[in-house]
Structures are given as structure tokens and as C-alpha cells.
Subunit: 593 residues, 2 copies
């Protein structure tokens, strides 16, 4: 069990110097919004996170959700916490003003979501999924549909879900079998969906399910999937929730390794003739609508990687400062933070989380910039960057989170293996992150395929050019000569890997598959180095000018150096693997496994 | 839940061609023992593992141990399984003939232990700890003590434990506080021990605790620790167990992340005046006696890293061959083993476990050779190799096991996160391996300190010379030119790292600590490559001669190539970190964490 404190110095630093939030808001025409406001918002969010959500985290793990006659009963205290969350107006932070939203930039939502995910990952999944559903309806629903559903989803009165997966259709959505039969102004939905996060609970009066299904004459495969709204309870003509239950229910929940307080539901649609469903947009375009939701969610899951690592770090750090183990020659005792190897693990966690934070905020701000940039060509550039960064943020942050939460338990020694210590919960909770919203393998394939090979490596080249600018800026300062050399060396390897990919993988699916995860991880550690390079330059300037928080900035410089010394060099290992390619990977006959 | 099949082809291959078991047995004067016998023994062990122990593994996870009035109640079915284990004579396999043992080489025990650990890690810990206690008494107990205690421990009638850790004395055994007061022919022991594996159960009529404690006038620190036998039940004059309970009991068990069927006990000694304890060897030499046990156990824990990875691999492989996900253009479906990234993960697991197996058997055989080698100088050479290999086997195999069991769950996608699938159990069980019997940090420090810096890098140089021989042998064959180049390159980096260590870390504790884990992991992947290089040469020769199992040998060559392509290159990443040293690691003020 661990307390949670929001790392406000670092979040503010990233907002001001990496995100360049003030410039972003000006460009977006949001004159009243600036870093002073963002800092105040984060301070408020942190209060709710620290005081209300974080203390429920362990409780939710030990007393997960349960099945009752009414359906899924959420963990003790969660309904009250959700009520506070709604009353404080958090669900509507970044939603459109037209539907009652506060219209703040996307990156503001990201920084606030970090607070929710860090304080209570299982809880935070509920608003996160709702937000994805809002995003899909905002982009693809009719005006009437939006008017009906969005306001109550945006203010948190109702929650939302994503119903994609079926027993034989996980990564492979082409195999979706759920049916949607036209029936007057609506459709009748029948079928079974699995792995539905927060598919049922008693916290709100209604739940809005977004469901992928096939109409009777739909083409086979992914081009025959449509998206439907299926509410838990029917609405009356005025759009209010009635007590008439729709023909959808949760029939079981999964017994999982982690996130015990987040119900993972098997949903049954149409056991009594068909659940009423309303078509979103046009028929057969459901998959692309769902991707709006999914792409949004993918960066959010990356953010969860940061969040769970930060939580694990805070607990390990506190333990390392308190745990006495070791005796000086004079007989006095010392704490384990004085052991070099414990220091190394803490530094890996600190440098890792700070690089993750900078990268995830940066990538999130690129979403804003793809909307608000000055002209169309700039918008396209930022859009392309979002496309490229999404699999890196999702893939790298969640994979890295496995290692960092592992280190969090390792620092605890034997106590780390004891559940009551609480560190193991973070390790268990983290494990889902590389699986849901597209596995690491899927992210990596997205990165090398749709985001690189399809555009001839242009998006990637643009990114490498930007990183090269940072390497040049580092080179301009004597004290960062070593950083510059290391970043340039890593960059050079990334450029070679890009070329290898273009030369070898375009026609050869197995070559791409052989190196894709290595490529994604290499790009992640490189982008982390890019962010830390930018951070070092800023911290140095501020210190020279006598501005900012001196201790924080000095620590930032040390953390950056550690990143360059201990994390950026991993690029070498991934690169060496990429060069060796996939020849030996597909050679094994299936029977020899 | 997963079945378990012993990988007998690979075990036999390693025995014959890496361990060179026949040569070892001849040297040891064990004329009747050869690879034919070892293969038959493994086949028998595999039957018990597959049919009896493996099916209990999931049951033990879900129904872990419990506390009752009688003490710890083991998981359902475990007592019956233990009875079968004892009746088949397995506990005595490698023990001394003088006390009823079968006197087989140590490496035979290692290969058989792999079967127990793979089929049921929690169960196997019980005989493993007993074996450690036997080893300590065999080396340090008096003849009378050995006659009294060893036969029933060796035949499995009694089990044994290691009582080291106390609440404030984990890694730091200098802080042990448990007291031992002389009282006639025995001592009275009082104090509390924590994290005692299999500290209590009802499977046997008695339990023999080996306990570290301090006599009244003992010097402070590690030089004042003595080792005692403390039985659960007192013996009568004939050496039979009576119903008189000694003053020791388990007062609670831990609620753990994994190995739920292995009771982790808090043991209380002397609540009613003092537990009767018998001094082993001399006073104040307990720590070195315990290290006999511990060093033995460390290689065994490394072996557990292989075992849990193998189990996870078998389950993931079976799933990947069965799970349909994906549609060909003609509408037919295919299984996920056809996805390149799934293939990559399976190959990592296969290549990883095979390298681990070769290395752990090799290191175990070095223990035999340190006893049986032809002359004293050879014995010393093998002894030094054991010293060097122990932290590598413990450290590398257990760390690597975290990644491999992670991949095992990853291959299952969403199902991997569902507990009933069973893959998550392996992932949870594996988590303890880098903690107990000395954390990874401790192994790494042992490797760079006592095993390298103390001897001026001699042990390490000897190892690098042996690996260089294999690189030369690879170079001699055209088809292995690429392997040779890769192994030579990795070897060159290891040589540079060794020099870096000698130049920089002798005086600087933090430099050693900064690079030690990287050094250990680098050496692990290098040694794995050494083993795979040897294996490739052998497999190629056998194929050319038309000997051996053709499919197995062809698969071995592919697996070796994959290791050289995808695992050996990791040396580059570790080496790059080592070069950067520890400067940035200790620089952070404690308050800035």
C-alpha cells in the first residue's frame, strides 16, 4: 500500500518547456489558458487523486468487483469516489463546449489523466473508456445522436464502453460475428462480446455501449462491420434514462492477474430477441469509427505505462529511504538507498518515468497541434507525427513499464513478493498494458507497416530530422558534448535501421515481423533520449538565468545524464538485432517447436 | 493450466555433448554410469513430473497453504505426491552412499531437479531446501550428527529448512539477533525468523531446521554467527522421532504474489523457554557453513529460472499452435504461430531455454569436476569456474526468466491476463527467483567483486579464453563464419568490460555497483552464446555423420542461429552501458528522489 504524490515540478516543467503549452494555447485561440492555469488544474486533480483515488487502489485490488443479481457490483468505495469525480467536473475537461465540455486542450486531459491512472489504474479505466466513446460519437455521430447521448456522457452521468472483442475475434476483428438486424428506426443486436472493460457497474444510472456488429447483407471481413450505440437502459422521448432494461447484460467477469477493480465483462446481447441498437454514422464503416476511439485509447494506455511506473517508483523510493539494511564500520546503520545497485534501480525508474512523461505529453500535444496548427501543411505534419508517435507511445511506454514496475518490486527485496506490501499490485496491474488496445506486436507492426513502409519512411525521416536538431543544439554547448555524441550515435543507428526496413521488409512480411518490436523499442529509447536532451538544454538555460526551481533543475540534469549513460545505449542492442534480420525466425518447422 | 512434457531430446543432447557425461563419470570412477542411464533416469523422473506433480501445480496456486491448529497445512494432494516422490527414491539420488544415498553425480541431480521445478516449482522447493541442509551437514556436521540426522533426510522421511532471514536481517546477515544459549549438550534457541520456505507442513513426521543464531559471547557481525540443528519434534535415544514438540513453531505464512503452495513461514523459536538446538561444527562459523548450502541453492535457483521458462514456453507453444486468429485470402483460417511476431517470441523462448539448459547443466557438471578432476590444478580450475559461474547462473537465468515468462503470457494475448489460463501463474511464480537466495544485485556484486576483482580478473580471463576456443572452432567451419564473427565481437566487448572493471571499479564501490548487473547480464548472454556455439558445432557434426535425431539436430542449428541473431547482440547494449560507468548514478542527492 502506498501513498501517491503528484510530481508537479516535473509535470509543470514538461508543460512549459517540452509541450510549450502557452504557445499551443495561443495558436488554438484559447487566450485565457496558460501554464499558470494548467498548474492549478493539476494541483486540484492531484488532491482528488491523492486523497480519494489512491487510498482505494489497494482496497480495489483485494476486494475486486463481484457479480450480483443486479449485475456487476463495483469495489467498495468506488461509487462514492466516482460521484466526487463527476461533481468536480473532471469528465468534461477536454470535451466540446457545445455539449457542456470545458474545451481544454487534449494535452491538458493527458496530464490530468496521468493523475487518475497513477492514483488508481482500475478506476481510471472507466472514464478513459467513456472518453473514447465520446470521441467516436463526436466525430461520427449525427447531430441528433450527439444531442441525445453526449451531454450525459460528457458530464459523467453515464459511462461508455467499447465492445469489439469476441471469443474468436480479438486482434482479428474481421471475424466479428455479432449481428445487427434492421428493425424500424433501430437495429436488433445479438451476439457475445468478451473482455469488455467496465461493461457493467452500479455507479451511474446508465451505460452507453458502443458495439461492433454486422448487418445482414454486410460484406465479409473488416469492411462489413458497423458501429452501434446500445444503452443499458432505454431512454424516454425526452432523452432521460428509464427503468426499461435493454436486452444486454453482463453474464460473467474475468478472474484476472491485475486491475481487479476494473470489471472485465462478458456481455451478452439479444438473449431475449435482440438489444436495441442505434447505428452510428453509416453502415460498414464501423471499424474506422472504432479506430478513432482506439487511436485515442492507445496513447492513453501508453500514459498508463508512465502512470503505473511512477506509482511503483514512488513506493520503491519511499521504501529505499526508510529500509535500514547494512552497518557502517562505526556500527551505525544505513538505509538501502545508499547501495549502488539500489541507486541504479531508482535512477532507472526516475529517468525512465521522466522520459516517458515528456514523450507522452509531447505526443498528446501533437494531437492538439494537428487541429490548431497555423496552416494545412503544418496540420498535416503534426497529424503525421501523431500517427507515428501513437504506436511508439503505446508500445514503448507499456513495455518499459514492465521493467520499471519489476524494479519497483525488486527494490523491496523479499517484501516485494509479499502482496500486502503493495508493490506487487503495480507489477500485476501493469501486465495488461502491453496486451489491451492492441498488443505490443500490433503496435510494432503498425509502426513499421502503416506508419513507415506505407509512406516510404517519410514520417520517420521527419522525426529523425527533428531529433537531429536537438543533437545539434546539444553539440552547441560544451557541457553537453557527450550527450550530443551519444544522441547522434543512436540517431545514426535509427537511420540505418530505417533504411534496412525500406530495403528489406517491404516485400517480406517475416522480415518486418522479425525486427518490428526491436525497431519500436529502439525508437522509444531514442525518443526518450530526444526528450531528455531537450530537457537538459532547457534546465541548463534556466539554471544559468537563475530561474526556476534550482534543486529540481539540477536533479533534472543528473537524470538526463543518467538516461544518456544507462538507457539510450540500449539502442545499440536493438540495432544489432535489427541488422541480423528475420532469416532464422521463420525457418523452424512448426513441429520442431 | 498446462501439461508438461520433459524435453528429453535436448536434455540428452546437453548431457552427451556439453556436459560430456560419460567422460565425467569415468573420471569420477563411476564405471556403471553413462548417458544411457542418465536418459533412463530422466525418463522415469519425467513420468512422475508429468503425471503427478504437474497436474497439482495449478491446484496448489489456487488452493495455497493454510494455517491450522496443527500448523501449516500444505495444499491438497501435495502430501500424497511427496509420498510417491519419496517411495521412488528421488530424494537420495546424489547423496552419499554412506548415508543411504545413490551417489550419482551432482549434474544428474540438476537434470532431475529441472523436472521437479518445471512440473511444480512450489513443490520442488521442499526437496531443494532439504538437499541444501543435507549438503551443509555432510560438509560440516560431526560424524555422530551425520549418523543421527542424515539418513532420514536423505531418504526423504524428514525434510530440512534454512533459517537465515530476520525482520531486520535480510541481505545483511550481520544483523542476525536470534540467540543460542548453551544448556548442557545442547543450546536453547530463541528468536524469530522470517521468509522460511517450507518452514512447516504435515507431509513428514519431522522437519530439521538449520538455524543461524548468536551465542552469548559471540563477536558482533557476521563473525559471530553459529549454525544449529533445531528439529520440529525431538528424537528419542535411538534417533526416532517422538511426539515431543520442540519449542519452535510457525506463527504465520505470507500472502505472496506466487508459489502459493510453498509455505513461506515466520518461525518463532523459544516462546516457552528455548528451542533445543545442536551446534553444527564450531561456534561462530555458521555463516560459512550456511554458504555451503547457499551456493548450492544459488545454482538451483538459476535452474528454476530455466524450469519456469520451459513450462511457460510449453504452454505458449501449445496455445500458439491451437489458437485460430487470422484469415487467409481464400477465407481459410490460420493459427497464431504463423504470425511473425508470435514466432519471434516463441523463438526467443526456445533459444533462451536451450541456452539456459546447456549453461546450467555445464555449471553443475563443473561442481562434479571440481571434485573428480584428474589432478589438483584441474580441480582448482574447475572450482574457480564454479565460483565464477554461480552468480551468472543464478543471476542471468532468473532475470532472463522474467522476460521469457512475460513472453509466455504475451503470446496468449488477452487470455494471458486471465488467471484460469494458467500462464500468469508461471509469470507470478517466476517473480521470486531474482529475489531469494541473494537478489540479482547481490549476485552481480559477487560476480564483479569476490569472483573478479579479488582475483585480478583471473577467473574471468580463463572463461573468456575458453569461449575464444569455441569462437575459433566456429571459425574453422565455413557455415559458421557468421556465428564466429558474432561470438568474437561479443567476446571482445566482454574483454574490454573486464578491463574497465579492473581499471575503474577496484577502489570505487559505486562504479562497481553501477555496472555490475549490466556485467552479469552481458556475461550471461555471452555464456549462452558460448553454449549455443558448442551446440551448433556438435549438431553439425552429428548431422554430417548421419547420427542422432535428424529433426532435432536441424532444429538445434536454427535455434543456435536465432540465438546468435537475436540474443547474443544484447551484449552490445550492456557493454555500451558499462562503458558509461557510474558517474551519474550516485550524483543525485537523496532528497531529489
Amino acid at each position: 500500500m502506498s501513498a501517491y504524490t503528484h510530481p508537479h515540478n516535473d509535470a509543470d516543467f514538461v508543460f512549459e518547456h517540452i509541450v510549450e503549452f502557452n504557445q499551443l494555447c495561443q495558436q488554438a485561440g484559447l487566450e485565457d489558458i496558460n501554464t499558470e492555469l494548467s498548474s492549478a488544474i493539476l494541483t486540484e486533480a492531484a488532491k482528488l487523486g491523492t486523497d480519494v483515488l489512491a487510498p482505494l487502489n489497494w482496497e480495489g485490488d483485494q476486494n475486486g468487483t463481484s457479480m450480483t443479481e443486479k449485475g456487476v457490483q463495483e469495489s467498495p468505495g468506488f461509487a462514492e469516489a466516482y460521484q466526487q469525480f463527476v461533481e468536480s467536473g473532471w469528465p468534461s475537461l477536454t470535451a466540446a463546449e457545445a455539449f457542456g465540455g470545458q474545451n481544454l486542450p487534449h494535452v491538458m486531459g493527458t496530464a490530468v489523466n496521468e493523475v487518475w491512472h497513477t492514483s488508481n489504474l482500475a478506476f481510471a479505466l472507466c472514464p478513459m473508456l467513456t472518453h473514447g466513446a465520446i470521441s467516436s460519437l463526436t466525430n461520427h455521430g449525427s447531430k441528433e445522436m450527439q444531442d441525445t447521448w453526449l451531454p450525459n456522457m460528457i458530464n459523467g452521468t453515464w459511462t461508455g464502453t467499447m465492445n469489439l472483442t469476441e471469443p474468436s475475434a480479438g486482434t482479428d476483428l474481421a471475424a466479428v460475428k455479432t449481428k445487427a438486424v434492421p428493425n424500424g428506426d433501430h437495429y436488433l443486436i445479438s451476439g457475445q462480446k468478451i473482455f469488455i472493460t467496465w461493461g457493467d457497474h452500479q455507479m451511474t444510472e446508465n451505460i452507453v455501449h458502443l458495439v461492433l456488429a454486422r448487418t445482414p447483407d454486410a460484406p465479409a471481413g473488416v469492411k462489413g462491420i458497423s458501429l452501434f450505440i446500445v444503452p443499458k437502459f432505454m431512454l424516454d422521448e425526452a432523452g432521460n434514462t428509464t427503468d426499461k432494461q435493454n436486452d444486454v447484460k453482463c453474464i460473467s467477469t474475468e478472474h484476472k492477474l491485475g486491475i481487479h477493480a476494473s470489471p472485465t465483462c462478458t456481455m451478452s446481447f439479444g438473449d431475449n430477441g435482440g438489444a436495441v441498437g442505434y447505428l452510428v454514422g453509416e453502415e460498414n464503416k464501423g471499424l474506422s469509427y472504432m479506430f478513432t476511439m482506439m487511436n485515442h485509447a492507445r496513447q492513453d494506455v501508453g500514459l498508463q505505462g508512465l502512470a503505473i511506473s511512477e506509482r511503483s517508483y514512488q513506493q520503491a523510493r519511499d521504501y529505499a529511504k526508510e529500509r535500514v539494511q547494512g552497518t557502517n564500520k562505526d556500527g551505525s546503520r544505513f538505509t538501502i538507498i545508499n547501495f549502488p545497485d539500489v541507486r541504479r534501480m531508482l535512477m532507472l525508474m526516475k529517468a525512465g518515468t521522466e522520459a516517458m512523461r515528456a514523450l507522452s505529453y509531447y505526443a498528446s500535444a501533437e494531437i492538439d497541434r494537428s487541429h490548431f496548427a497555423a496552416d494545412d501543411s503544418a496540420k498535416v505534419k503534426h497529424h503525421n507525427r501523431v500517427e507515428l508517435m501513437t504506436p511508439i507511445v503505446k508500445g514503448w511506454l507499456t513495455e518499459f513499464a514492465q521493467e520499471l514496475t519489476y524494479l519497483g518490486t525488486q527494490i523491496h527485496g523479499g517484501m516485494g513478493f509479499v502482496e500486502e506490501t503493495g508493490s506487487a499490485q503495480h507489477y500485476r496491474d501493469a501486465r495488461i498494458l502491453t496486451i489491451y488496445e492492441g498488443t505490443t506486436g500490433i503496435q510494432a507492426l503498425d509502426l513499421v507497416g502503416r506508419k513507415t513502409l506505407v509512406n516510404g519512411g517519410e514520417f520517420l525521416q521527419d522525426l529523425l530530422n527533428d531529433i537531429a536538431e536537438t543533437a545539434e543544439a546539444l553539440k552547441a554547448s560544451d557541457k553537453f558534448a557527450s550527450h550530443a555524441a551519444k544522441l547522434s550515435s543512436a540517431l545514426d543507428k535509427a537511420a540505418q535501421a530505417r533504411q534496412w526496413l525500406l530495403d528489406n521488409a517491404k516485400e517480406d512480411r517475416s522480415a518486418a515481423g522479425a525486427i518490428s518490436v526491436n525497431m519500436m523499442m529502439m525508437m522509444g529509447f531514442l525518443c526518450g533520449g530526444w526528450m531528455m536532451g531537450k530537457s537538459a538544454i532547457k534546465a541548463d538555460k534556466l539554471l544559468a538565468a537563475g530561474e526556476g526551481h534550482e534543486d529540481f533543475l539540477k536533479a533534472k540534469l543528473i537524470t538526463c545524464q543518467f538516461y544518456f549513460d544507462h538507457l539510450l545505449p540500449r539502442v545499440d542492442g536493438y540495432f544489432a538485432v535489427i541488422q541480423n534480420g528475420g532469416e532464422s525466425m521463420m525457418a523452424m518447422p512448426e513441429d520442431s517447436f
